[in-house]
Amino acid sequence: MNMLDIQILLIMMVVGAVIAVESRNLLSAIVAVGLVGLFQSLAFLLLMAPDLAIVQLVVEILGIVILLRATIKRDTISPEGGFRFLPVFAGIVLAAPIVIAACLTALELPAFGHPLMSVAKTYIADGLAKTGAGNIVAGIILDFRAYDTLGEAVVLFTAVIGALAVLRKVGRKQKEERSAAE
């Protein structure tokens, strides 16, 4: 049964996530989140999504590098002194109903392992003939749904330009500089 290993991976992911959330030390929290990402990459591999496994792995590495750069040499200890009731309560009250409702809704969906695949059948049957790409996923993202990929590349471009704009040293010109420019 293929489902058991995915379930074990999912339980590990939940455990890793709980460690990441509750750990006092920010560095260990980040490492735990990296672990969750690694398990997810494995899960993608088991779910027959090798493209996603690669992308998830490398994105995870880059994400961890970026996050570590943010925290290293800064506060590494999460400053939460003691247990505070209100935020914990609010978190549980808001998160629990969504999860329970979503679980109930998921029961109504087609059973796990039996997707409907009405559109996807076309992709599998005609993908190679119509796009010439043996990798059907690449055929979808860069030919059938290439417009989405343009959007995705633009999101990344936006984030890069945005990050460079946010990270510039001086945001506003001084008054004198401004009047000189006019």
Binding site: V21, D75, A102, V137, D148, V155
Partner: protein, 111 residues
């Protein structure tokens, strides 16, 4: 069952974003939420004993998993990375200005 585990992961992330008071923890919570959603999407497309959607010259398998959710999740992962990069940049600037990652100490704005 398998969907509920994935949704619990989502719940853990959401809880982290709402309950924690540290900027890095909030970013971690958002990342966990993204993982859960991506995994859920791929789970919806999985077919029992299916093979990967990559054709090669020799074999001609009929039982292939749904490739469309994979294509969508690829997009979603990259969007998640973009958001994280921007969040971290803003977080670095906030640290530079306030000297802390604790949002209960960052309170210039009312309400």
């Amino acid at each position: 069952m398998i969907y509920s585990l994935c949704l619990i992961l989502f719940g853990v992330g959401l809880y982290c974003v709402i309950a924690k008071r540290n900027i890095v923890k909030i970013i971690i919570g958002l990342a966990i939420m993204e993982y859960a959603v991506n995994l859920l999407f791929v789970l919806f497309g999985y077919r029992l004993n299916g093979s990967a959607p990559i054709l090669d010259k020799i074999q001609e398998t009929k039982n292939i998993v749904d490739p469309l959710p994979q294509a969508l999740v690829l997009t979603a992962i990259v969007i998640g990375l973009a958001t994280t990069a921007l969040l971290v940049s803003v977080a670095i600037r906030i640290y530079e200005k306030y000297g802390t990652f604790d949002i209960s100490k960052i309170k210039k704005l009312r309400g």
